[in-house]
């Protein structure tokens, strides 16, 4: 499976990426095999697949949290490491990973402090981010005083605060209840529209992937490989009721059928 496009639009170029881990018995475990994928600037890409398909591994390779054993990734023509050193990655983890002793505002300011952002403009910047995720009133709360959904929103605000080139999200909503998740899905689309960031979103939920993304990369396990790329031709502005349309169900079915062997 290859997904190639006109090279001038491409922001992320994933070229023959393979990843082999050693398990505890010393045997080779092929987590990813020959992944080829081009991602355009401003896309909302979902990496979708069952557990063990290597979707998180792929995200971590893009984020320079892992080095691939084969192939390479180029982002704007640079190595992931260079992009990371320039502090151009915004990562949202599965758990919010907030610092308990910092207020919501101070948590959002953490990466800005690391990159020596102008201290005088710091409060203004964090206020802007708080507004984006709708947590203005909670600026001086501590993470433990917030619900799981709010904590994850702080994580998103923190990731966006540094104006990243790329927003990488690793199953950010999987631990949340259905209602909170829906709310955050709508928020996410809103944020995508407002900021126009390239977003790579890892998930194992087909509906979530269809609702959020403009392209879905379907990964299959053992070894993890790209088995299909599905374009989601829904309008960019989406509301929750779009999930009740026939077209949405057709897309979900199409994605489901694209898993190798037809089903999971």
């Amino acid at each position: 499976m290859e997904e190639r496009m006109n090279s001038k639009d491409v922001q992320i170029h994933i070229n023959h990426v393979g990843m082999t881990f050693k398990d505890n018995k010393g045997n080779d475990m092929e987590a990813l095999k020959d992944i080829n994928l081009d991602i355009k600037k401003g896309e909302f890409i979902s990496l979708l697949g069952p557990s063990g398909c290597g979707k998180t591994t792929l995200l971590r390779i893009i984020a320079d949290l892992l080095k691939p054993t084969k192939g390479s990734v180029r982002i704007d023509g640079m190595m992931p490491r260079e992009i990371r050193m320039q502090q151009k990655f915004g990562i949202v983890f599965q758990s919010p990973v907030l610092l308990d002793w910092r207020t919501v505002r101070k948590n959002i300011e953490l990466p800005l402090e690391i990159m020596h952002y102008d201290a005088q403009r710091l409060p203004e910047r964090s206020a802007e981010m708080l507004k984006l995720v709708g947590l203005e009133e909670f600026a001086n709360h501590y993470p433990k005083q917030l619900s799981g959904g709010m904590q994850q929103r702080v994580g998103i605000a923190r990731a966006l605060g540094i104006e990243p080139e790329l927003l990488l999200m690793d199953e950010p909503f999987s631990a949340l209840d259905e209602f909170t998740k829906e709310k955050l899905h709508v928020d996410m689309l809103d944020i995508w529209e407002k900021t126009n960031k390239t977003i790579i979103f890892v998930t194992h939920n087909i509906q979530e992937a269809v609702f959020l993304s403009n392209r879905i990369c379907v990964l299959s396990p053992h070894p993890g490989r790209l088995s299909a790329v599905v374009d989601v031709d829904l309008p960019k502005k989406r509301t929750l009721d779009i999930r009740d349309t026939l077209h949405f169900s057709e897309l979900v079915a199409k994605v489901r059928n694209s898993f190798e062997g037809g089903s999971l």
Binding site: V97, L99, W101, K144
Partner: protein
């Protein structure tokens, strides 16, 4: 039954029951000892006698009242303990950081730290005294040694408690090592550090009192052994025991108050009434 359980949740009430219980047992013993005493003074005086001795204006030694003796010697003991405590605290914290920075230092240092901890103070004190030749210095050193281990061990545990995700977060922002320490590791280990201080504070004081007994240059321990040998009123002995216990408890409390001032974590936990959760 339900009412009793509800009452049991009131902290002050539990304390009150304990105090009353101890007073009753104490007084029974005091009467019993008084009945068989062979000395002019009751070796186990009644509680009111002990309390009265604090405000008694008759001199017990060198023209000083019991209160003056206890207070001046308590200050001496506390100052020495405090110097040793601060020294041990600083060294313990720095060593914990070094052990975190380097696995080799941890492997080299940690087993010996535990060994030092196992030598009884009574055995260690004369050795250190003969090494330094000065009782004041050895008192400080012993208080420092006793403080050092709980602080280092707890702080190290705190530094190690930081989850991988937090490192990855800092890594993804290309944070330099210095910032990982100042912004994540050190704030994260503070509650553990204070746990170490709370354990160490009364130990440093006890050690200081124990070393006092070795040589007659003042301090609570010195007065303690003198009063036991009937060089002074028996009440002084009990006054010192009481004061030492109170100081020990207060020293732990003091660490808690300082923690409240320094670290916001405890305040938040209390606010949401979910202490120690997570």
């Amino acid at each position: 039954m339900k009412k009793i359980r509800k009452l049991g949740q009131k902290k002050w009430l539990v304390t009150l029951v304990w105090v009353i219980g101890i007073v009753i047992v104490w007084e029974i013993m005091a009467f019993r000892v008084a009945a068989v005493k062979r000395t002019p003074e009751n070796i186990l005086p009644h509680i009111y006698q002990i309390l009265y001795s604090f405000i008694d204006s008759s001199p017990v030694a060198g023209g000083q009242t019991a209160l003056m003796v206890v207070a001046s010697n308590a200050v001496a003991t506390l100052l020495r303990a405090a110097v040793g405590f601060l020294l041990g605290m600083g060294l313990g914290f720095v060593l914990a950081l070094l052990m975190k920075l380097s696995g080799i230092i941890e492997k080299l240092a940690f087993p010996y730290l535990m060994l030092i901890q196992m030598i009884p103070i009574l055995g260690m004190a004369p050795i250190i005294l003969s090494l330094t030749g000065d009782i004041g210095t050895s008192r400080i050193i012993i208080a420092a040694i006793l403080t050092f281990y709980p602080v280092a061990a707890n702080t190290l545990a705190g530094l190690k408690s930081v989850e991988t995700e937090k490192y990855e977060l800092m890594y993804s922002y290309a944070a330099p090592k210095r910032m990982i320490y100042t912004k994540v590791l050190i704030p994260a280990c503070l509650p553990y550090f204070f746990t170490g201080l709370k354990i160490a504070a009364p130990m440093a004081i006890t050690a200081s009192i124990l070393v006092d007994t070795l040589q007659g240059d003042g301090g609570l321990g010195c007065m303690l052994s003198q009063s036991l040998r009937h060089a002074m009123s028996i009440y002084v002995f009990w006054d010192i025991v009481l004061v030492s216990a109170v100081i020990g408890i207060l020293s732990t409390k003091l660490m808690g108050w300082i923690e409240d001032l320094v670290s916001p974590l405890k305040r938040i936990d209390r606010q949401i009434g979910r202490r120690g959760g997570k």
